[in-house]
Amino acid sequence: MRLFIFATAALTALTMGAHADPLADRKANMKERGSLLRVLGPVAQGRADFETATVLDALEKLNANAQAAIDVDALYPEGTESGDTKVKATVWSDRDGFKKANDDYTAKVAAAVEAQPQDLESFKAAFAPIAASCGGCHEVYRN
């Protein structure tokens, strides 16, 4: 019985932990995208050297980050549309579109990891659609 109570408590804590502050969680998730692109962006722009290990590592992390944000309903629940957030009302009024934008983005990141780019040209080809999705989603779903 003790074990059961403990397990339930732990589970509650865990799930609570994941959703206690969805607004802060999604912003932290987005901020991490920014810092990972600070590694990848300059390479694509030709301002930093292409190093396979660095690029693949950052892509893996970007993929983990995208997977962590796959549950739109958990990160963008009702009641988190105001306060310290730049989110647009379209995230709720066009829920399907937002989910699709999120899925498309996630698929592009997964495809880039899959491609395992070994040189600058193939990296740029995999990275360009990812970079375009950031602005594409922000255009419609963020102020």
Partner: protein, 307 residues
């Protein structure tokens, strides 16, 4: 759309003060003969650059349109305000539904003076208060380029404005106050690059329409030029893009140029909202023009954020 709301409110107030002399004073003023004569023959290749620099597609093509879709200028985008809805008209080459039968002079009067071929005022939601600074040659080139664009069938619906906001004549007062082609800021000993940047930002680029706060009557507050403003549509703020506090003083020139080309800030956030279509346009300019815009932003007076 609070900006439009304020513009419309301002127009009304001025109209009320104006009284009897109203009709005469508010009569549309067209471009003078010398300017019209200087329109000359346009060059469509140069005109394409003018088209992107001035962002016509951001309002007159379908929202989010890129590539060829951005050249399909059927209009129809709705700008919802508390006074009613403005709808971007069809400005494609369709002879009756669009502006296919217009002369270069007609286009120049619309873009630089906000006057229609039949002599009516346009609402300043069409940013002619900025385009007034465009060079006649650029508008002639723009005309030549627009002539190469497709015809799109179907008139866009009319504006849905109720009385008194549907009184176009009253816009003449607004124009008397806010329509001029003088520089927004004085720049001593500016380099050619900075002057080119000034032209692009203050004229065709119409950056101030979003980035500058407006006064009670809806005119741009030049003393806080580009210091940031409340967003015209929805909530949120348009950022300060001067070097003052809260602005972009710690950005390098390369970082500003990169933003205009790729949409990424130095923090690698990707700008969105109404700036996203601006980036799509800026990305099509020459590198020199993006550098000129950056040089201008770094040269103008810095202001603390206005919002």
């Amino acid at each position: 759309m609070s900006v439009l709301a304020r513009i419309s409110g301002g127009v009304l107030l001025v109209a009320a003060i104006g009284g009897a002399a109203a009709w005469y004073l508010a009569a549309p003023s067209r471009l003078d003969a010398a300017t019209v004569a200087s329109l000359g023959n346009g060059d469509a290749t140069r005109g394409e650059q003018v088209f992107w620099a001035s962002g016509c597609a951001s309002c007159h093509a379908a929202p989010g349109a890129d590539a060829d879709a951005a050249l399909s200028l059927g209009g129809g985008e709705r700008f919802v305000t508390e006074f009613g809805v403005f709808v971007a008209p069809n400005i494609s080459q369709h002879p009756t539904d669009g502006i296919g039968s217009w002369s270069a002079e007609d286009l120049a009067n619309a873009v630089m003076r906000g006057v229609s071929p039949s002599g009516q005022h346009y609402y300043p939601a069409f940013p002619y208060a900025s385009y007034a600074r465009m060079k006649p040659q650029d508008v002639a080139d723009l005309y030549a380029f627009m002539k190469t664009l497709p015809e799109v069938e179907g008139k866009a619906p009319s504006n849905e404005l109720s009385f008194p906001f549907n009184q176009r004549w009253a816009l003449g007062f607004w124009k008397m106050l806010y329509l001029d082609d003088a520089p927004r800021v004085e720049l001593a000993n500016a380099s050619d690059e900075v002057l080119r940047g000034r032209y692009l930002v203050e004229g065709p680029g119409h950056c101030g329409e979003c980035h500058t706060p407006r006064g009670a009557l809806g005119g741009m507050d030049s003393s806080k030029w580009l210091a940031g403003a409340k967003a015209a549509e929805g909530e949120g703020n348009v950022p300060n893009i001067t070097t003052g506090e809260g602005g972009i003083g710690d950005w390098s020139k390369i970082e500003i140029v990169d933003l205009l080309e790729t949409g990424f800030t130095p923090e690698f956030d990707s700008v969105g909202g109404s700036m996203a279509p601006v980036i799509r346009n800026m990305a099509k300019l020459s590198p020199e023009d993006r550098e000129a815009i950056a040089a201008y932003l770094m040269a103008i007076p810095g202001h603390a954020s206005a919002n």
